[in-house]
């Protein structure tokens, strides 16, 4: 009887996913690379134009700044949530995990619109601040970078919490107990024993949030007031408004390369395999 070798079996299992990737992702992506080099005429004109444009540079810097701020915000808030869920929640644990997951079930669009209701000039936050006399005129909470970062942290938070939680779940309480038994204070035990063990989770959360933030579109488009033009919105603008597929494609290639560079740099400092693949 014919028996498939293990390698062959492995390939058969991978094949459907691989085929979908090639047909719907890699193939169109190569098309984009091609457009960036051929439209409106063959050559690297799109790339030189891109590097010469100060608007593109500003947009790239802005994109990275927002992604970094979002990542930091998500890590701080997410770490606290993950820590509490993993170490203190007992009966409330399923509920707390559900609350972390809940936003996943609501469209990003709706969540961003909710922030408009909250942060608007006559929104709930401003109304409350004014009613309680804390401020006497509405503050500008959105249509600027501040609003974009707040809403993006909200949208990205689960992506930070989940990997950190998975990581913390695998950390045995015995280490901290041992450190305490050897005379370490609560803070020292956390900082020197517990925290280093959570680094893989923190790193994978950070990478996920950062990379997703780089290409984020809906939230900045809705809450940025048109002046917080992140690179993905800039690409849409080039393609939809100017039908400038060449430059738009070049920009998306640049975004992809920039993201790859970030991951490559991150790989020098953290073990990506353990950060992304292993659950400890």
């Amino acid at each position: 009887m014919f028996r498939m070798s293990d390698a062959l079996r492995y390939w058969f299992l991978v094949l459907p996913a691989l085929a979908i990737m090639i047909v719907f992702y890699i193939w169109p992506l190569l098309g984009i690379w091609q457009i960036s080099l051929t439209e409106p005429k063959p050559g690297v004109a799109n790339y030189t134009e891109m590097f010469d444009s100060t608007a593109v540079q500003t947009s790239f810097i802005l994109t990275f700044r927002i992604a970094i701020l979002t990542t930091i915000g998500c890590l701080i808030l997410g770490y606290i949530v993950a820590y509490v869920i993993s170490n203190f929640a007992r009966r409330a644990k399923p509920l707390m995990v559900a609350l972390v997951l809940l936003p996943f079930w609501v469209s990003v669009l709706i969540r961003s619109f909710s922030w408009i209701v909250l942060l608007g000039r006559s929104g709930i936050v401003n109304d409350t601040l004014m009613a309680t006399g804390i401020t006497d005129s509405p503050m500008r909470l959105m249509h600027n970078e501040f609003g974009v970062v707040i809403a993006m942290i909200h949208v990205m938070l689960p992506f930070a919490v989940l990997p950190m939680m998975a990581n913390m779940r695998g950390i045995s309480g015995a280490y901290v107990d041992a450190a305490r038994g050897l005379g370490a204070g609560e803070w020292t035990a956390f900082r020197q024993v517990y925290f280093p063990q959570t680094m893989p989770g923190v790193m994978s959360g950070a990478l996920l949030v950062f990379v997703l933030s780089l290409g984020f579109y809906i939230t900045p488009a809705l809450l940025g007031g048109g002046r917080v033009l992140m690179i993905s919105e800039y690409i849409t603008y080039q393609i939809q408004e100017f039908l400038n597929w060449g430059l738009g494609s070049a920009l998306s290639v640049a975004l992809l390369v920039a993201t790859a560079v970030v991951i490559a740099i991150a790989a020098r400092f953290v073990n990506l395999r353990s950060a992304l693949l292993e659950r400890n």
């Binding site: 444009s53 100060t54 608007a55 540079q57 500003t58 947009s59 802005l62 408009i116 608007g120 000039r121 006559s122 249509h143 488009a221 007031g225 048109g226 002046r227 917080v228 033009l229 800039y234 603008y237 408004e241 100017f242 039908l243 400038n244």
Partner: protein
């Protein structure tokens, strides 16, 4: 040589659809709406072959949704009633590329298309549209700035100065210079996420007389000076991307002042409290939508020209204004506009005198360059 770019403002056209949707809130997806959607999704060739099979039928194409229904009801059905010739409105969006592809493939199914001057100029150069027959179409029944050899105006809309006096302590800006005066008129402003109709206002804000605006903008310095005005004001600018966004910004009191479409202004006038909204055509920019006729259209040249003539009827154009807010292209319609709407008709003689005509030629030559600089000024 500068390549002339297609400058047709598809967003402005699509916006009319949205407005119609608003006006016809109760309207769910009707059969015709469904057909239009199908056509827009690429099922058009099927519909097209059917349309071709029926002789003596006129297929008019615009940008879909409820605007198609209004066009059907106001212009098409009335023509059928008069002549017995069926007129079908197809909302699949007659972009220049589609018209060209259709004519070059020899399978023309469209008789008349709602286009823009920018597209018309390109299509004319490519030789895929017919000249307008002014023996049938009445040249005097359309604004002279919208009567071209190969295209003729079918409606108009304006970019106008709107403000919320309530947010400004009763002190509303009267001119574009006021709009740039942040000291006396504090608060946020909104401008379009495109230079269309915007750069003109920034140029007037420098004190350039209305009729010299495009002369100034034809120079490099003129463009840069206008762009600089936006750079100065940018901390006070929120940008609108769609017509509904501009409307929302006023409704939610996010902005006190804005340069938005008159069609949206008209809606805001109904929606906002007394004294909380003002719209002025002074220093506005008026832009026309244009009819173009593809070469070798199935119904024949004369038939479609007769329909254009029919659609010039001032009474019908007033209906159009009432239902969808876009102004009549026929100056004779101004008198027939009901008193309460007169003030908001972009093409009334009083309002026309206050505005300049959107210069498509300028956009063909300079828009791309200006847009780049505009974004740069807003974010950099």
């Amino acid at each position: 040589m500068t390549i002339f770019k297609d400058t047709t403002d598809h967003q402005a056209k699509a916006d009319l659809i949205e407005i119609a949707a608003h006006k016809y809130k109760e309207g769910t997806l009707t059969r015709r709406g469904f057909l239009s959607a199908m056509a827009a999704l690429g099922a058009l060739p099927m519909l097209g072959s059917k349309a071709m099979a029926q002789a003596k039928e006129i297929v008019v194409v615009n940008w879909g949704g409820e605007a198609s229904e209004v066009l059907q009801e106001v212009m098409a059905d009335t023509y059928t009633k008069e002549t017995g010739i069926p007129v079908v409105v197809d909302g699949s969006g007659p972009s220049g590329g589609k018209i060209r592809a259709m004519v070059e493939s020899g399978a023309v199914v469209w008789d008349l298309c709602d286009s823009g001057m920018g597209t018309a100029i390109i299509l004319q150069e490519q030789g895929v549209i017919q000249p307008i027959n002014y023996d049938i179409v009445d040249r005097s029944a359309v604004l002279e700035q919208a009567a071209y050899e190969y295209a003729v105006g079918n409606y108009v809309y304006s970019y106008v100065l709107c403000s919320n006096p309530k947010l400004l302590g009763g002190n509303a800006p009267q001119t574009w210079e006021d709009v740039w005066n942040v000291k006396d008129f504090p608060g946020m402003r909104t401008f379009r996420k495109s230079v269309r109709g915007m750069l003109e206002s920034a140029t007037m804000a420098q004190g350039v007389p209305m009729n010299e605006v495009y002369d100034v903008l034809r120079t490099e310095d003129g463009i840069n000076a206008g762009i600089d005005k936006f750079r100065q004001l940018r901390e006070n600018i929120i940008v609108w991307g769609s017509g509904s966004a501009s409307q929302n910004l006023f409704l939610q009191e996010e902005v006190a002042i804005g340069n938005i479409w008159s069609t949206r202004g008209q809606l805001l006038m109904e929606q906002m409290d007394e004294g909380a909204f003002q719209m002025s055509f002074d220093g506005g920019v008026i832009a026309p939508g244009m009819w173009v006729v593809p070469k070798d259209n199935p119904a024949g040249s004369d038939e479609v020209m007769k329909f254009i003539r029919h659609a010039q009827d001032p009474q019908l154009q007033v209906e159009w204004l009432k239902k969808i807010g876009s102004g009549p292209a026929n100056p004779a319609a101004a008198e027939l506009v009901p008193e309460e709407l007169k003030k908001w008709n972009p093409s009334s003689p009083e309002n026309l005198a206050l505005q300049i005509f959107y210069d498509d030629e300028w956009y063909g030559m300079h828009q791309v360059e200006a847009e780049e600089k505009y974004i740069d000024a807003l974010i950099n």
